[in-house]
């Protein structure tokens, strides 16, 4: 099944390599952008769904309070609320499931295309769908003195900047894309929010750490992919991106001071 995704991607990457005068890094960047653009509608749908859910949070909270002792009624009321606002609570899952094999495929494409051992090259031989591309193999694995098939630790010291960039862009990306949750009425972060905060810390750290052992080529892919996600959130969820940059972080569901003159609504 993977071959259906991998073989065309490997072929396209190799064709781009030919188009961009044997510059594999530029080819990886362009292919990543192409794939993110192709999957843009799916990502946008996922983001819209998340945004709608976020907007419903205060109402959901009230319902939880109201029906805290009656699970069945709460479920009914919530479903009614979703219906009323035309929201599918699982609307973000399907686009994610469709995108995921493509993104994993893109990731593996880079590994295959940068084949640097006999085993890997034998595998690559079966993945090029256009015969004329054979002459481009092996793909030049050197870029600014770095061997793209080796991890940053086995490259010149400046290659360590790449895991750092992976960490920073992963942090920004996860800050924007992870689910948000509002505070409890007492102002304390609820369980979901605590978990979200953990995720926004752990995931970038993990990716940054893993990038130390990944090949440099993959770090480049991660950085471009993260930047594309950030860019996409910039387009689709502009307010959220602004919120991220403010001290009072709206994107994490913290209480944003109400504008002057606005009335405080009492919780029922």
């Amino acid at each position: 099944m993977w071959d259906l995704i991998l073989n065309p991607l490997v072929t396209i990457l190799t064709a781009l390599y030919s188009l961009f005068n044997n510059d594999i890094v530029l080819s990886i960047v362009v292919l990543t952008i192409i794939i993110r653009l192709v999957t843009w509608p799916l990502t946008a749908q996922q983001q819209r769904s998340a945004k709608q859910m976020q907007e419903l949070q205060p109402k959901l909270k009230k319902l939880q309070e109201k029906y805290k002792n009656d699970r069945e009624k709460l479920a009914q009321a919530q479903m009614e609320l979703y219906r009323e606002h035309g929201v599918n609570p699982f609307g973000g899952c399907l686009p994610l499931l469709i995108q995921f094999p493509i993104l994993i495929g893109l990731y593996q494409t880079i590994l295959f295309a940068l084949a640097s051992t006999p085993f890997q090259l034998v595998d690559l031989s079966q993945r090029l769908l256009v015969p004329g591309l054979d002459g481009l193999i092996p793909i030049n694995r050197f870029w600014f003195g770095m061997d793209l098939t080796l991890p940053p630790t086995a490259n010149p010291q400046y290659a360590l900047l790449l895991p750092l960039l992976v960490l920073v862009t992963s942090w920004l990306q996860s800050k924007l894309s992870l689910p948000t949750a509002s505070n409890d009425d007492d102002g304390e972060p609820n369980q979901a929010q605590a978990m979200t905060r953990s995720m926004t810390t752990i995931m970038p750290l993990m990716f940054g750490f893993l990038s130390l052992s990944f090949s440099v080529g993959l770090s480049i892919y991660f950085i471009v992919s993260n930047l594309m996600t950030i860019f996409q959130y910039g387009i689709v969820g502009k307010g959220r991106l602004n919120g991220l940059l403010k001290r009072g972080n709206a994107a994490e569901g913290e209480v944003v001071p109400a504008p002057k003159g606005a009335k405080k609504s009492k919780a029922r």
Binding site: L63, Q78, F90, C93, L111, F119, D134, P138, A181, A192
Partner: protein, 397 residues
């Protein structure tokens, strides 16, 4: 303890969190390179008894061609040595003796009782043939890893490097070497060089076939074959026959001119076999070709076996052409017509070149046999009688 009641929104939050964790796990799983192994096994036979030496991954083994058993190690009284559990100790060099070493290059005999063992960890080791003990556990440093067989003339060993060209190392005796020359390349040389009449010929992944002065390492010529070269050139009647990833077999004169070429459907990785006036080649699309080399490489026959293709060299013996495919099938083809006579299915990927062992009175081998090395360490070797495909043994048993 009461069960926690989750509302749809709480379930949703948890689902998303679980989804995020799933993504992390999947990404981590996908981070495993599709193929972390480096290369396939190399085999050779040494000595009058034609014992098989195979280098693959973390070990080098010596195997009896008679029954496929490991060769037992003997003590000074000529008795079999046993370990603490009473098992017979067999001949093996493993990376327990030389930490971190991997072996894909068959050993070479450099003295009466000493083997040369090039390794992937950029070292040359010497091994006592009687005891399988590594003489120089630190190894002699070389400028790159070796993943295929080396060539030699007299005491000079021509080592192809996975990245970085070819290095010539001279053996000085007593486990001492000196670098004679190093012909540096950015890309690798993944096939054994060929040394003939003072010239070293080798194909590189950078698309070029090189000819160097064996004494000095000076480049005599190079010719671009339009694609990577993964095989040793075959020298026949003052012509070099070599295939490339450009889907062509080239015929090259000894002064580096392309004399003729033949197009195939897929990459050619194996070295052509030549018998009589016929060259036999196989490609990674799974086709086998017989070409008349006395007549402009005219196609005599072609057999399409399909599947995942053929990486290994074809083997010609008597009236048979034997090919081992990546699908795990070993085919016996009629040399004159290409018709399939029979096949044997090993159900494991086959990439290594098959090894022919001819009948030998001294070795006690009455019929020719072929040894197939697999990519599965638990079923590393399978031997068949050549004429009828009867399975003789497997190693390990």
């Amino acid at each position: 303890m009461t069960g926690e009641i989750l509302t749809p929104s709480q379930s949703f939050s948890r689902m998303r969190l679980l989804g995020a964790l799933l993504i992390v796990i999947l990404v981590a799983a996908a981070c495993v390179s599709p193929r972390i192994d480096v290369s396939w096994a190399s085999m050779t036979t040494l000595g009058d008894n034609q014992n098989i030496f195979i280098a693959f991954k973390d070990r080098v083994l010596q195997i009896s061609p008679i029954n496929g058993a490991g060769i037992p190690l003997l003590n000074s009284q000529g008795e079999e040595r046993v370990d603490e559990q009473g098992n017979v100790r067999t001949w093996v060099v493993s990376n327990q003796q030389v930490e971190g070493a991997q072996f894909f290059s068959a050993p070479l005999l450099i003295e009466e009782n000493t083997l040369l063992l090039p390794a992937y960890n950029e070292r040359l080791y010497t091994v006592d043939l009687s005891t399988a003990r590594v003489n120089n556990t630190n190894g002699e440093a070389i400028p790159g890893g070796v993943i295929t067989n080396a060539a030699y003339v007299d005491n000079v060993y021509y080592l192809p490097l996975i990245h970085g060209g070819v290095v010539a190392m001279e053996y000085l005796g007593e486990d001492q070497f000196t670098e004679k020359w190093h012909f540096e390349l950015d890309d690798g040389v993944w096939s054994a060089p060929l040394v003939a009449d003072g010239v070293v010929y080798f194909g590189a992944i950078d698309h070029n076939l090189y000819a160097l002065d064996a004494e000095t390492g000076e480049e005599l010529w190079r010719v671009d074959l339009e694609g990577g070269i993964g095989s040793t050139p075959r020298l026949y009647n003052d012509r070099l026959y070599v295939g490339s990833f450009s889907r062509k077999l080239f015929v090259i004169s000894l002064n580096g001119e392309i004399v003729d070429e033949f197009s195939t459907d897929h990459w050619i990785w194996g070295t052509p076999a030549i018998a009589g006036n016929t060259a036999y080649i196989a490609d990674l699309g799974g086709s086998v070709y017989a070409l008349d080399i006395s007549d402009d490489l005219n196609l005599i026959w072609r057999k399409d076996l399909g599947g995942r293709g053929i990486r290994a060299n074809p083997l010609v013996y008597e009236d048979i052409v034997l090919v081992a495919s990546r699908d795990g099938l070993v085919y016996w083809l009629d040399r004159n017509t290409g018709e399939e006579i029979f096949n044997r299915n090993l159900e494991v990927e086959l990439l290594a070149d098959p090894l022919l062992i001819e009948p030998s009175e001294e070795a006690g081998i009455t019929d020719a046999m072929v040894v197939i090395a697999t990519t599965d360490i638990n079923r590393l070797l399978v031997a068949y009688q050549f004429d009828n495909g009867l399975k003789l043994w497997t190693h390990p048993r």
